[in-house]
């Protein structure tokens, strides 16, 4: 059971943003993805989720052996993939519960769970009733993404810079959420802080669209000592 990315090359308007990227995210494991600004981390996240702006030139993406390379975003979501956005959209007049309520997740249940999760994440319970992300602070938006992940229970989750804008307490709450999840999780981040809290099984470094380093926790310590430029 895994999310496999195999020799993925991605372009936007003829500019190559990802070059021959491969990795496997197994269910229950945690991969940390780091890299300097502009290295292609968000491009990878959005491409995996099927954003129309990103063109896959070659390579494929498989969820549990199903080739999803040409699937629409909702089809991928329905197969158990989740993306916590770096910049979540604000949707006027739509609250978070409406996104998540469906045949399998009836409204009343969603409401109760959402309120409980909000409390656990240190969010004002009223936020689950308001227009999603409209006038929310940076930290509130990130927590809302985590709340959705907890409600949707995906098999594979990509968290794009979930730690930006969060204080230490919030960071701890989120890392607890990540550690207790049974999903395969890819944590994309700039800073070693979050990764040190969650102990990833694998750490990848992305630079100029290529994976330049892969290893265990020691990759993080080396990064802290010498930065990205030495890689």
């Amino acid at each position: 059971m895994s999310l496999e990315v195999s020799h993925l090359t991605v372009q936007v308007e003829n500019k190559t943003l990802l070059d021959d990227v491969s990795f496997e995210l197994k269910k229950g494991e945690i991969i940390g993805l780091m890299g300097p600004n502009g290295s292609g981390k968000s491009t990878l996240a959005l491409t995996l989720m099927g954003h129309p702006r990103y063109q896959i030139i070659s390579g494929e993406i498989l969820i549990d052996k199903t080739n999803i390379t040409k699937f629409s975003p909702d089809e991928r979501a329905n197969l158990g993939l989740f993306l916590a956005f770096q910049y979540p959209s604000a949707i006027a007049g739509v609250n978070v519960r409406q996104l998540v309520t469906s045949a399998d997740r009836p409204a009343l249940q969603v409401k109760r769970r959402a309120q409980k999760l909000a409390k656990n994440l240190g969010l004002d319970a009223d936020l689950v009733n308001r227009s999603l992300n409209l006038d929310f602070s940076g930290g509130e938006k990130k927590k809302m993404e985590v709340l959705q992940m907890d409600l949707l229970k995906p098999k594979y989750a990509i968290l794009d810079e979930i730690d930006s804008g969060l204080d230490l307490d919030a960071l701890r709450l989120i890392s607890d959420s990540i550690k207790s999840s049974s999903a395969g999780i890819m944590v994309i981040t700039h800073y070693p802080r979050l990764l040190k809290l969650i102990s990833p099984d694998l750490v990848l470094i992305l630079k100029s669209g290529k994976i330049v380093k892969s290893g265990g926790k020691e990759v993080i310590s080396r990064l802290e000592k010498s930065g990205y430029s030495k890689l």
Binding site: M49, G50, S72, D74, R76
Partner: protein, 472 residues
């Protein structure tokens, strides 16, 4: 349009005006010939046994109608042939049609939005109604204890002719515009509401509680008088598609808001796509009075409607919340007008529209601040969503400020559904169409929130239905 009443025609037999179901089946075989003549108008008035002052009003209105040109500034009215229309149709007292002959699109819509079977047949003009008798009678006694009058306009004229004479046509005289002249000449049905001083009516008065009264009137005339300090919420219309034989609807609504009174008038209109819906709605608001129009326009081929407020007294306020949805073959030309004629008055207009499948929405509004209206404020916000490249949206506001101590703000935005928003929702497992529908409903929600719950639920479902197949 009354939910419980037959759809196809206006007015009723005099005997049916008496409440509590004493409807003798006095059966008047009357249907006017086509075209609008003095003879037709006299017949209508005679048939209703009206006082002579009303007949005179009708006749002079007819003369004005004949002299006025058809307006050309709004939607396209040229296809209307006034000579071919029947201006007075006998209502159906028993089954008049065959359910099987009803358009399958209408039937499907009823299914989707959950309209109960009995109501479907009524709405489709197939069956007359008498079931609401029980509800009606208990409502009547509740209201009459408070001194509230709530009758069909025809019955109101019989029971309270002097009261009506004081107000009828004073806000919207026949000479106001061609369609008002038409309505004044041939009006039939509508509601008469009178709320005494300092009386609050907490439950919304809904047109469908008027048993056996003029229903999907083509030419309804409504008059609401709210005395000092009173308050009422009147709801007209129905979100289920209303099929009508008459293709021209020209209604007039006049509302008098006395000092300190509060009135909300909510309309949800979803006429079938052959109807020209041309309505004049006006409120006169006195000192510290509050008027709010909530106007939902989903159907018809062309709607021209601009609920307005004349703010006559100090600190009077007026508000219009307007919602318009235009799909293929539809043109919603809607908006609001606010006239500030006294000091410290304020007005607000919020207009939201969605056009798709080649539909066209046009916002048309006027804010006028007269010299005497010092210290007045007005804010207008118009947001339009255009879902595809074949559809269209226009905004035509006029802001006329005639003093130097008032502020008027106006903003309008036209946009399409954001790609990022769509993507975000799809990543949560919603299909492209579900995502678009959710966004459209969210966009309209500030206005739908002001509509009584059962209409709001139907409206949301109707928006969903209209959206189906609009993606791509």
């Amino acid at each position: 349009m009354s939910r419980f009443a037959p759809v196809s025609s206006p007015t009723l037999t005099p005997s049916a005006d008496y409440p509590l179901g004493h409807s003798d089946s006095v059966d008047y075989e009357f249907k006017s010939g086509a075209g609008l003549t003095e003879h037709t108008v006299r017949q209508i008035s005679a048939f209703k046994h009206e006082p002579s002052w009303m007949l005179n009003l009708r006749l002079s209105a007819l003369a004005q109608f004949n002299h006025m040109p058809t307006p050309e500034w709004g939607g396209d009215l040229s296809p209307i042939d006034f000579a071919k229309i029947h201006y007075y149709l006998k209502p159906s007292q028993q089954s008049v049609g065959d359910w099987d002959k009803v358009d399958s699109r209408i039937k499907n819509t009823f299914d989707r939005i959950g309209v109960p079977q009995a109501e479907r047949e009524i709405l489709a003009g197939v069956k007359a109604q008498f079931d609401s008798e029980v509800i009606y009678s208990s409502l009547k006694s509740f209201l009459s204890k408070k001194g509230v009058i709530f009758l069909g306009m025809d019955e109101g004229l019989k029971q309270y002719p002097d009261l009506i004479r004081r107000y009828f046509g004073k806000l919207v005289p026949a000479g106001d515009n061609k369609l008002a002249a038409l309505n004044t000449a041939v009006w039939s049905g509508g509601s008469f509401v009178y709320i005494p001083k300092n009386t609050r009516v907490d439950l919304p008065l809904q047109a469908y509680f008027r048993i056996n009264s003029p229903n999907a009137g083509q030419f309804e005339r409504t008059l609401i008088i709210a005395e000092e300090g009173s308050s009422v919420h009147y709801v007209e219309g129905c979100s289920a598609p209303a099929y009508s034989e008459g293709s021209l609807h020209a209604a007039v609504v006049e509302i008098f808001v006395k000092p300190g009174a509060t009135v909300q008038y909510t309309t949800v209109q979803n006429w079938y796509k052959n109807v020209y819906n041309l309505v004049t709605k006006r409120a006169r608001v006195e000192e510290e009075g509050h008027m709010r129009w909530v106007d939902g326009n989903l159907g018809s081929r062309l709607t021209m409607k601009y609920p307005s407020c004349f703010l006559m007294g100090r600190k009077a306020t007026g508000e219009t919340l307007s919602l318009a949805l235009a799909g293929s073959g539809q043109h919603q030309d809607t908006g609001a007008k606010m006239y500030h004629l006294a000091s410290e008055t304020s007005s607000q207009i919020l207009a939201k529209s969605v056009s798709f499948g080649g539909g066209r929405t046009s916002y048309r509004g006027l804010i006028q601040i007269n010299p005497a209206a010092a210290g007045s404020r007005s804010k207008v916000v118009c947001d339009a969503l255009i879902l595809d490249s074949s559809s269209r949206s226009d905004t035509y506001p006029t802001n006329r400020i005639l003093n130097s101590q008032s502020t008027v703000e106006h903003e309008a935005t036209v946009s399409r559904v954001g790609e990022d928003q769509l993507f975000y929702l799809m990543t949560r497992g919603l299909s492209e169409q579900q995502s678009e529908t959710l966004i459209v409903n969210g966009f309209l929600s500030p206005i739908i929130k002001q509509i009584p719950l059962e209409y709001a639920v139907e409206m949301n479902r109707l928006v969903d239905l209209e959206m189906e197949g609009s993606v791509g």
